[in-house]
């Protein structure tokens, strides 16, 4: 019992570290990637040089780090942490402080249900590489995402600022509008793989379609995939869906935040991006599955088999998962630096009048196909 708890705690720590690190590196990637896309250099100034004769030899090593702007996130962090812990005059001080915590907490909580590998057999134990093996994992993730809305509501209401308040109203309406589509698209996946358990869904994607094509969600639910990805993008409230808080142009719900609390909103934003990448990977791109890799090793459709050891298999799975997540993070950023922002009426039109009907039709179509296949 205690061992199980310790293992779960260890898994939670691992997951947390993965997410926080990817999210932290995001801030650097976002700067540099956008710079490269836009024919710029990006951050290449922050840093320090050592003047002491004892450590001067390190300077040549520091130079490339400075040049790559890797000190920039640290500088940003130091700046945010060093700033005054300020709360708006006339605002609700306590709620104002709690809002970013709630927002970040629920952004993290969803990761508990995401599997980042198959079962690991070690020292006679079966360790599922998933923090919480919930058989309703996907509903859990949605519940957590739904609670994230409270962070926005509280930040808007407690700021004593009508612009922040309106930003919060925009943010909440946008999130609950797109949650509907988000849920509806996943139902297709649930129908195909017959489970709400994320681990089961991923396992289901290990099968082969017509003997050669991995049965990934994107192949059985292409429409669902696009809809899900779009709706999830809207959930993160980033460009092109950044109407609740549009950095320089639109005043939004966390406009009255500064310092560490602002940093938490920023971090939560990145965590949500990672969440979207992880969910897309898990639901539509095979999660930790690597094409043709079974528990025993590679089994290719043309009959060849390559035996791979258990630990190597698990390692490939974890790496496969991470690579996919990172790739989607990259894609999300690229989209961010590509598309212009929607207008609010366009956003609502898209959510309710386009995507929701299409996703409902997708459910019906999926059901029909499944019935047909079963009938045949």
């Amino acid at each position: 019992m205690w061992m199980d708890l310790a293992i779960k705690a260890g898994l939670a720590v691992v997951m947390m570290l993965i997410v926080i690190n990817i999210a932290g590196i995001h801030s650097w990637v976002e700067r540099k990637q956008s710079a490269v896309i836009q024919d710029r250099w990006g951050a290449n100034r922050a840093g320090f040089t050592l003047n002491s004769p004892l450590w001067r030899w390190l300077n040549p090593l520091l130079r490339p780090i400075i040049y790559l702007g890797l000190f920039q996130p640290i500088a940003d962090l130091l700046k945010l942490v060093a700033k005054e812990n300020w709360s708006p005059v006339g605002g609700m001080k306590w709620l104002h402080a709690v809002a970013p915590f709630l927002y970040l907490l629920f952004a993290f909580a969803g990761f508990a249900a995401i599997p980042f590998g198959d079962t690991l057999h070690v020292a006679g134990r079966d360790i599922a590489l998933q923090v919480a093996s919930l058989n309703v994992g996907f509903v859990f993730i949605f519940a957590m995402a739904g609670l994230g809305v409270y962070g926005i509501v509280l930040s808007g209401v407690s700021s004593n600022n009508n612009y922040a308040f309106l930003g919060a109203v925009r943010g909440v309406s946008q999130m609950i509008s797109y949650e509907v589509t988000l849920g509806a698209t996943v139902i297709g996946i649930v129908m195909v793989y017959g489970s709400l358990d994320m681990q089961e869904i991923v396992r289901g994607q290990g099968a082969l379609l017509w003997g050669w094509l991995p049965k990934w969600g994107v192949f059985v639910q292409p429409l669902g995939c696009i809809l899900f990805f779009t709706a999830a993008l809207a959930e993160t409230k980033r460009i092109p869906f950044d109407l609740p808080e549009g950095e320089s142009e639109i005043i939004g719900y966390f406009t009255e935040y500064s310092g560490t609390k602002f940093g938490m909103f920023l971090l939560a934003d990145f965590v949500e991006t990672v969440m979207v990448a992880a969910l897309t990977t898990t639901l539509f791109f095979g999660g930790w599955q690597f094409p043709y890799l079974q528990a025993s090793g590679f089994v290719f459709p043309w009959g060849a088999e390559v035996a791979v050891g258990h630990y190597a298999v698990v390692a490939i799975q974890v790496v496969s998962f991470l690579v996919k997540v990172i790739a989607f993070c990259w894609l999300l950023m690229t989209i961010r630096w590509t598309l212009p922002r929607f207008r609010y009426d366009q956003l609502m039109d898209l959510g309710w009048k386009r995507m929701l009907p299409v996703s409902l039709a997708n459910i019906a179509l999926t059901g029909l196909v499944i019935l047909l296949i079963e009938a045949l």
Binding site: L147, Y150, V172
Partner: protein, 169 residues
């Protein structure tokens, strides 16, 4: 043992949150206590192995319904409302009714009319059959009519709301 401790915590905390919710004069605070209450309710469902219900509890009540309440509260001037005197004459009547209903509830529970842990939806059944399946099975067979009636009521409410909001369609 641990389960009992958890149950104690969830039960007491849920009651406390509920009490706090109805006594707060600030509507926003009341709504937040309600959120805490929902989360603790979900905890009790979890102890019953009803993970699906727990998740739905949070997703539907906390994530959707309460948010709509909050929307309404946000559009009111919370500070002004907090100043309004909360004790009306009808409060006595209301607490009387609430007391009577509470008494009925306690008496009914004490008499063991409800199946409790001895009912059909046991933890073992949930574990073997799966959470969603057990709920879905009952919902779409035994309770199909009430379920459909409930859907119909919601539909009517929705149409009514739209009609009220948009006079000229």
């Amino acid at each position: 043992m641990a389960e009992h401790l958890f149950f104690l915590y969830f039960a007491v905390a849920a009651l406390g949150c509920g009490a706090a919710m109805v006594t707060r004069s600030n509507l926003l605070h009341a709504a937040l206590w309600m959120l805490a209450f929902f989360v603790h309710m979900a905890g009790i469902f979890l102890l019953l192995n009803a993970e699906f219900i727990a998740a739905l509890q949070v997703m539907v009540y906390a994530g959707a319904i309460l948010i709509l309440y909050l929307f309404v509260i946000m559009l009111l001037d919370v500070r002004e409302l907090a100043k309004v005197r909360q004790r009306h004459a009808s409060a006595t009547v209301a607490s009387l009714i609430a007391g009577v209903m509470g008494a009925i509830l306690v008496v009914t529970l004490a008499r063991g009319t409800f199946a409790g842990t001895h009912g059909s939806a046991t933890a073992a059944l949930l574990a073997s059959q799966g959470n969603v399946e057990s709920v879905a099975g009952v919902l779409f067979t035994t309770y199909l009519l009430p379920f459909e009636v409930a859907s119909l009521i919601l539909l009517v409410a929705m149409v009514g709301a739209i009609l009220l909001a948009k006079r000229r369609l």
